[in-house]
Amino acid sequence: MEPARGKAMVDVALTDTNIEQPAWLSRTKALARLRISDSLFFQITRAAAVAVLGLLGSIIISLVIGASPALKEFGFGFLVSERWNPVTENFGALAPIYGTLVTSIIAMLIAVPLGLLITLFLTELCPLWLRRPIGIAIELLAGIPSIIYGIWGLFMLAPFLQRTLQPFLIDLFGNVPVLSTLFAGPPYGIGILTAGLILAIMVLPFITSISRDVFEAVPPVLKEAAYGLGFTTWEVVRYVVLPYARVGVIGGVMLGLGRALGETMAVTFVIGNAHKVSPSLLAPGTTISASIANEFTEAVGDLYTSALIALGLLLFVITFVVLSAARYMLMRIERRIG
């Protein structure tokens, strides 16, 4: 290395020799010093690793403590009640849970096919020199902060949808029995559908980048054999690549779902913050994270604050389950790739 800066152990042992001390004594001392610093460094790094575990533990504990007043007051009814009245201090989480699930489902319905098609393009169709730039561009979508999606959704996407897509949907499905309730009401622009659309764009890069990794991990021999038998590109993907990469793709989708469930700012801008469960996708609603972001600083009274923290706890439990499942599946495919 650099002899000037880093003193090697031998140098320390030899040059630090005092005249009064015999060489072996100072050498032992130097070694002891090194041993101490060695074990100290080990202990510090281990403490840091344990601290990461402690972090998750303390997040859970603090949320449970914060949520307990509300959970005690409302019990199980908190989960199934739609009322949300800060004045009478009566809270139920049904509307935010409903909004969170519905927006995420819309997002996944759009983002999964779109992401897989982009992956197909990137791994099978795209010329080699274009793969990297296009891949990076898609991943840049993940780099844009969520508040940017929010402001763009509010000022650009929502008015656009209000003028075009939403009236079209209302007209189109106005007389169809089930779909007419799904697309009922005036076109507000903001609402559950808009939030779902924005979430779809936001999770698209996660799905694309993970499925790209697992698509590329498919042994080329398998694909070549299939092509050699006369498969078309689509058939190769459908019957060779997808079955092989299934677990990984599902893991990637779950990871995207975890993001969609917890996404806050982008949704807060366009969801409309209405605590009600309405069957129409065009109506304003709310999600767990949007409720917390909108109301937490304005919450007066311990029960109100506690109800919002209980919402947070609920969100954490849901995302924890989804993300654990995602990680488990991705670990399985990693083990297979070796």
């Binding site: 840091a48 690793a49 979508l141």
Partner: protein
């Protein structure tokens, strides 16, 4: 023969349809990126001026800039990264160097991956519960801590990955020379993995500088200039949130300008991080 041909045509057609769909899906993805960035630049350039960087956030209806949120964001991001990075690097070091095959490492890796994608608003609630509520008031310090919690998993992940890439031969060689383990990690492993670890920190900076949700109820916001860590502090994302949802034209314009500043800072950071890893991979 005729049926075989029909089958072949059908397969060809189906293939063509899927390929066309995949082509348009990519076009949609890229188009969406272009639309968002285009809208951002278009809206923001109308409000961009030197005043943005020299004046405070204005009251409604007046002219002003974004100096206090920019400074607030810089302070909180710097402090958050300064707190989170050492913890992350140390934890990553343990996982890659000491406990590579231990059970703790497996658990920490799993938990860390969960923290990496956990909703950031939860982190805000957590810091509110453990810092803001006991202190009794919002503060820039609480905001920094919330950001630090977000920094840790990113740094842990990249540090571990990069240290695992360091060839075992290097470790063996330095151990054979009698180097103590801690010294080896500092002088051999860290040095070999430096570019990757810096990338990790840059990615962490990029991630937290756009975060809004964890700041909303930790640092809150501040209409005035304040470098006091013990008081509420303005930040760009929080100001964008407040201004964009306001009914005032001037405020909305400033929100767009702030959005442009953040986006370009974040994208520049991720491009630099990418370039660092790319040059490393080539060499």
């Amino acid at each position: 023969m005729a049926t075989a041909n029909a089958l072949y045509t059908r397969r060809r057609r189906r293939n063509g349809i899927v390929l066309a769909l995949s082509f348009s899906a990519t076009a949609i993805g890229l188009g969406w990126l272009a639309i968002i960035l285009g809208a951002l630049v278009w809206e923001a350039f109308q409000g961009l001026s030197l005043k943005v960087f020299t004046e405070m956030t204005p009251p409604p209806g007046a002219e002003g800039g974004l100096l206090n949120p920019i400074v607030g964001s810089l302070i909180m991001t710097t402090l958050g990264v300064a707190i989170g990075t050492p913890i992350g690097i140390l934890a990553g070091t343990y996982m890659a160097e000491y406990g590579r095959y231990s059970h703790i490492t497996k658990v920490v890796r799993f938990i860390n991956d969960i923290l990496l994608s956990a909703p950031s608003i939860i982190i805000g609630l957590f810091i509110y519960e453990v810092v803001v509520a006991p202190m009794g008031h919002f503060s820039g310090f609480a905001g920094s801590l919330a950001l630090a919690v977000l920094v840790i998993p990113v740094v842990v992940r990249t540090t571990e990955d990069m240290l695992l890439l360091v060839p075992t031969e290097l470790r063996e060689a330095s151990t054979a020379l009698g180097t103590p383990r801690a010294k080896m990690i500092w002088n051999v492993c860290y040095r070999a993995a430096r570019a990757g670890m810096i990338t990790g920190v840059l990615l962490a900076v990029a991630r937290v500088s756009g975060e809004t949700a964890p700041l909303l109820f930790t640092a809150l916001n501040n209409q005035f200039f304040s470098a006091d860590l013990n008081a509420p502090m303005a930040s760009l994302p929080a100001v964008i949130f407040q201004f964009a949802l306001s009914p005032y034209q001037d405020w909305q314009k400033l929100a767009w300008v702030g959005a442009l500043i953040i986006t370009f800072a974040v994208l520049a950071l991720s491009v630099i991080a990418r370039a660092l890893t790319a040059s490393r991979a080539q060499s």
